[in-house]
């Protein structure tokens, strides 16, 4: 019973934030210099007469004040209708669902890899501060965190696909093959390089942050006291360090979701992987407003829920908070 109140509060806040996201996104779209009728028509805008344009405007409510339009859109949204995507000629919800299914493999694996490997490397580096291992890990993390994601992807393609020929240069499956025909092994083969590249970037950030926490701990009173008891550095890192580093790691892991989404957009673009990221770029470049809005909301929901889970977990795991003290 005690847990329900804070969770309910968080859910309410989540709803409020998402409504604001909707408001801001919609406002931005309204502010865009693109004529909504043009956006709706897409490439066919040249073939339509002025009378037909007026009809379209009336039908979709483009000629009404912005607040009313927002109201319409919001009502439709709550009812589950996200609008029609003219780029893919499908309902927006279908586009998102289909593409997310393909992106989730990429995102999920990269997320797990970056969290697990990043955390381990961070703990190792922090425990052995100043050693050769620490220097290698820190340098790698530092450099990778400063690397443009899409450039890393380009390098990867150049090295592994073009020069060495180990991995395919693009897409989720061989060109021309139907979705059902592609085997799991081939899928994995196509996923290998994108996932590795995306993970490399995520690892760098998590490693750096975890290392900082470990260093803080190794310099704290707890560590000094443990050393006074005759503990070795490994002992302190294992028994005290891991515990203290795990808690912030949870927040880190969920916070990295947002960055991963961004990274996946760039990676998908370079590898021509037909996921949600590629759809976002297409929507933006070809002024597909409903799709763009839908994706913005969907990702915001994803990230916010992730953060909410992290907050709740923290409250359950950390004994200082559980007692109600903090």
């Amino acid at each position: 019973m005690r847990l329900i109140a804070p969770i309910a509060k968080r859910v309410a806040r989540l709803a409020l934030v998402l409504t604001c996201v909707a408001l801001v996104s919609y406002g931005l779209m309204m502010a865009s210099p693109i004529d909504p009728v043009d956006a709706y028509l897409g490439p066919q805008m040249a073939q339509v007469s002025p009378e037909q344009r007026a009809l379209i405007a009336q039908r979709w409510g483009f000629d009404e004040p912005p607040a009313v339009q927002f109201g319409h859109w919001l009502r439709q949204l709550v009812g589950g209708d996200l609008g029609w995507s003219h780029v893919y000629n499908q309902p927006v919800s279908e586009v998102i669902a289909q593409r997310f299914q393909r992106s989730i493999a990429l995102l999920g694996s990269a997320w797990m890899l970056s969290t697990l490997v990043g955390f381990s490397l961070g703990v190792l580096a922090g425990a052995k501060e100043g050693s050769k291992l620490d220097n290698i890990i820190s340098t790698y993390a530092f450099i990778t965190a400063s690397t443009p994601a899409f450039w890393l992807a380009i390098l990867a393609v150049l090295l592994f696909s073009v020069t060495l020929g180990w991995t395919p240069t693009c897409c989720a499956g061989p060109a021309g093959a139907l979705n059902q025909e592609v085997s799991v092994a081939t899928r994995l083969h196509h996923l290998l390089l994108p996932v590795t590249t995306l993970a490399l970037l995520g690892i760098a950030n998590i490693t750096l942050h975890t290392r900082t926490r470990m260093l803080e701990l190794m310099r704290s009173d707890v560590a000094t006291h443990a050393f006074a008891q005759g503990a070795s550095r490994i002992d302190v890192a294992w028994r005290h360090g891991l515990r203290h580093a795990s808690l912030p790691a949870i927040t880190l892991a969920f916070a990295s979701l947002g960055e991963l989404f961004g990274g996946s957009i760039l990676i998908e673009q370079v590898f021509a992987y037909p996921g949600l990221g590629q759809a976002t770029v297409a929507a933006g470049l070809r002024s597909d407003v409903p799709l763009l809005l839908g994706i913005a909301l969907f990702t915001a929901l994803f990230v916010s829920v992730g953060n909410m889970i992290a907050d709740s977990l923290y409250g359950v795991i950390d004994p200082r908070i559980k007692a109600g003290g903090l």
Partner: protein
């Protein structure tokens, strides 16, 4: 048990943007501690007392300049010996309660202390329970986390950690700070008990008044220098048996005594340094 000879410690500080200066924290400090005695090291805050504890344990921050000699049971106490003996024969009861890991239950932490002192894990678990019982911490306190303990209980846990390690030399750094008279007496009595078992206890404190009843000998420290070492019974009456003007003034300044304040010039004090 422990002999300190002419120990000098310098730590770096930045006087200005680029110039690095060395601040002298311990100045040719000498001390002898015997088994079975409680030796109180008394001085004002900032006199270098905690640093003395760290120097003995070998836990000084790296950019430190140390000169002089430390001997433990006749053997020179160098870095490798310190590493060997830390937790096994040398134990430190820290000043800060933050030394207790807030994410680990009490009994487990004490068991770890025992394991780090070289005991097997099954035995360590049992020993930790015994030690905590000895310091009157009930089952609930034993399963509690650090933030759930009161100040007095936390200090007793730290003392239990030193107890369970079976160390022969125990350094207690300001163990009675922030405690009410009853708790304070319990902690000090516990230290006396450790000494009575044949261990050496160095009691670092600024509280001369309450250290005297349990101490055998007292060393007064000022600005990193040793002012005087006297037996506890010399601190009586008007402090006439004390040889140094500073020690006398310190004694007389206590509220129980004359509560008098006299300015003691450093020159005056230096003349009578033993």
């Amino acid at each position: 048990m422990l002999t300190i000879e002419q120990l000098s410690l310098q730590l770096p500080l930045y006087a200005s943007w680029w110039k690095r200066d060395w601040a002298t924290c311990l100045d040719k400090f000498s001390l002898r501690v015997y088994p079975g005695e409680v030796h109180a090291v008394v001085g004002a805050s900032g006199a270098g007392k905690s640093l003395l504890a760290y120097a003995i344990m070998g836990l000084l921050p790296t950019p430190a300049r140390l000169s002089g000699q430390l001997y433990y049971q006749g053997k020179p106490l160098n870095a490798s010996l310190q590493r060997q003996l830390r937790g096994r024969e040398l134990a430190l009861i820290p000043q800060s309660l933050n030394a207790l890991d807030p994410l680990v239950r009490t009994q487990r932490q004490v068991a770890w202390a025992a394991q780090r002192a070289g005991q097997a894990s099954a035995h360590a678990w049992h020993a930790s329970q015994q030690a905590l019982d000895h310091y009157q911490l009930d089952a609930r306190a034993q399963q509690a986390y650090a933030h759930e303990l009161s100040g007095g209980m936390a200090r007793r846990v730290l003392t239990a950690m030193a107890h369970v390690s079976q160390a022969k030399l125990v350094i207690a750094d300001e163990p009675s700070v922030g405690l009410d008279p009853y708790q304070r007496q319990r902690v000090l009595d516990a230290l006396r008990e450790l000494a009575d078992q044949g261990k050496s206890v160095i009691l670092i404190t600024h509280d001369l008044r309450h250290a005297l009843p349990i101490a055998d000998r007292v060393t007064i420290m000022r600005d990193g220098k040793r002012v005087e070492t006297a037996s506890a019974c010399a601190f009586q009456g008007s402090g006439a048996s004390l040889t140094n003007a500073y020690s006398q003034a310190l004694w007389l300044a206590l509220p129980d005594n004359a509560f008098a304040t006299t300015a003691i010039s450093r020159r005056e004090q230096e003349v009578t340094v033993a």
